[in-house]
């Protein structure tokens, strides 16, 4: 019961702040609601006893990505941040796509409703040593996907560096100071 209540509290905060993220006029306020969403998702992970995942969620999304978001937002003059157009003219297409997506999700949930069985409630962790388990599974059972993901990220980093350097007419890449 307690677990369920905690889950619903975090889920509600996550959903409400996610709506606030896309409706605020001020980009920094949006970023703050994004922080609330990300932290409540970490809370949901915790209520499901996935401690390692919760820690990684906070460190990567809040400590890394969100800080970079805010960093970039700060470099934009604040009056432009507030009066920038937030919506483009593709509202109808977006509405149709969203409706299709929601339809698919509802269908999937109805089809797989037997899978939503809540485990026995307990104050003890489901498995001892959550981080050890994640490490073992990641580096033994799923080593290949893990390595593929890291190569993908490496390519993205190199790509970002190459794109951010302006190329000279002679084909050489100039380093921008």
């Amino acid at each position: 019961m307690l677990q369920l209540v905690i889950f619903y509290i975090f889920a509600a905060i996550a959903v409400v702040s996610a709506i606030m993220v896309i409706t605020r006029r001020n980009a920094v306020h949006s970023a703050m609601f994004l922080a609330a969403t990300l932290l409540s998702v970490a809370g949901v992970f915790l209520s499901l006893r996935a401690e390692f995942l919760a820690g990684v969620q906070v460190i990567v999304y809040v400590g890394g990505i969100l800080v970079l978001f805010v960093f970039v937002i700060m470099l934009v003059p604040s009056d432009r941040v507030i009066f920038e157009r937030r919506y483009n003219r593709q509202g109808r297409i977006a509405l149709i796509t969203a409706a299709v997506l929601i339809g698919e999700l509802v269908y999937a949930v109805i089809q797989g409703r037997d899978a939503f069985v809540f485990p026995e409630e307990t104050l003890e962790p489901a498995v001892e040593g959550n981080s050890q388990w994640v490490g073992t599974v990641l580096y033994q059972n799923y080593l290949l996907p893990f390595e593929i993901a890291s190569i993908l990220l490496l390519v993205a980093i190199i790509g970002a560096v190459v794109l951010s350097k302006k190329s000279k007419p002679g084909g050489e890449i100039a380093v921008e100071e």
């Binding site: 390692f52 919760a54 400590g63 805010v70 604040s78």
Partner: protein, 356 residues
């Protein structure tokens, strides 16, 4: 009843002690800093309030609470008010997983009947021991930087914005090398839990600083940079940026930033003691007090080591000039990070060879 004692009374009392003691500790840390820097510069430091200025922190706290609270016009009011809290809360939360000592035995009431019956209870000197301890600390303390950035942005003023930008770049850069320097210790201890890391160092003088001296030095430097202390105090460089990100703050809100900075200092120093210097373990297996008082002795050794690293912060501040911004980035990315990664690889290979 057991549920009440285990999950409400015991953590509640410990959290209360930390929340009450930490601000007092910070107050006297500031006095210590002022006095030590004064002595290093052949001055006397605060002398007027109390004998040798011993009541100065209390006078300062009163002054800060009574000062006018100013929110500049043009500031984003909500975020301006929120920022000091965002900076302070993570620093306090992190303290919940730091092991200050082993267990002590205290009598606790057994039930609510009168007269109270007391039973002996073993109480560990930390709030909780998490399986993801070190990860938790890195995760929660990375939220603290948001408070500084928000403060700089919400002030709607040039110097705070520049200070906040510097601060964000600096903290994100040094976090990377800091994380890598911890991995060496984690490889040796085989656990992320801080209590397990301390226990892995028990035995005569097997502190991890002996196996990981390079990682320790990197951690030390990055720890000073993460807390925005001299010589890495660019975010609040008073000769260039007035006071950096907290220029527009005054009174109590300003003191919250101050509290956050000193709490972060205490956290980083505690981490150094825990990861590299055996936490509460006595050097060379010394034993000053009988077995029954082992908890108090542990807390003593922890505090002694902690005080040394706090002293080192002040010593650095009095000794070294501030880095230039490009030097700061150079040191962080091109010197500390490669060394830290090389250290991780070397440690991993050695651990594998010696164990396998």
């Amino acid at each position: 009843m057991d549920f009440f004692v285990d999950y409400i009374l015991e953590p509640g009392v410990k959290i209360g002690v930390i929340v009450l003691v930490l601000p007092l500790l910070v107050g006297y840390l500031v006095l210590m800093e002022r006095k030590l820097i004064a002595f290093m510069q052949v001055r006397l430091g605060p002398m007027r309030v109390g004998p040798h200025g011993l009541l100065q922190p209390i006078a300062d706290a009163l002054k800060l609470m009574l000062k006018e609270d100013i929110v500049p016009r043009g500031a984003d009011r909500l975020i301006f008010i929120m920022a000091p809290v965002v900076a302070l809360v993570p620093a306090f939360i992190v303290l919940s997983v730091i092991p200050f000592g082993p267990s002590i035995t205290v009598p606790v009431p057994d039930g609510f009947q009168w007269p109270l019956q007391f039973v002996e209870r073993e109480v560990p000197l930390f709030i909780t021991d998490l399986n993801i301890g070190v990860l938790f600390i890195l995760a929660v303390s990375s939220i603290g930087v948001l408070g500084i950035i928000l403060a700089g942005w919400a002030s709607n003023s040039k110097y705070p914005l520049l200070g906040a930008l510097r601060s964000a770049a600096q903290m994100v850069s040094y976090e990377v090398a800091l994380g890598f320097s911890i991995i060496g210790v984690l490889l040796l201890a085989g656990s992320l839990s801080l209590v397990d890391i301390v226990n892995a160092q028990s035995g005569d003088g097997h502190w991890f600083v002996l196996y990981q001296p390079i990682a320790f030095i990197i951690f030390w430097i990055c720890g000073v940079a993460e807390t925005n202390r001299a010589p890495f105090d660019l975010p609040e460089a008073e000769s260039e940026l007035v006071a950096g990100f907290h220029t527009e703050y005054s009174g109590f809100r300003w003191s919250l930033f101050f509290l956050a900075e000193y709490a972060a200092m205490i956290v980083v120093a505690s981490l150094m003691v825990t990861l590299f210097f055996g936490g509460w373990l006595a050097p060379f297996g010394l034993r000053l007090l009988p077995e029954s008082l082992a908890g108090i002795e542990g807390a003593f050794w922890f505090s002694a080591k902690l005080l040394f690293f706090i002293y080192s912060y002040i010593w650095f501040r009095a000794s070294w000039p501030r880095y230039r911004y490009d030097q700061l980035m150079h040191v962080g990315w091109k010197v500390l990070l490669p060394i830290a990664i090389a250290n991780v690889v070397a440690t991993a290979v050695l651990v594998l060879l010696l164990e396998g």
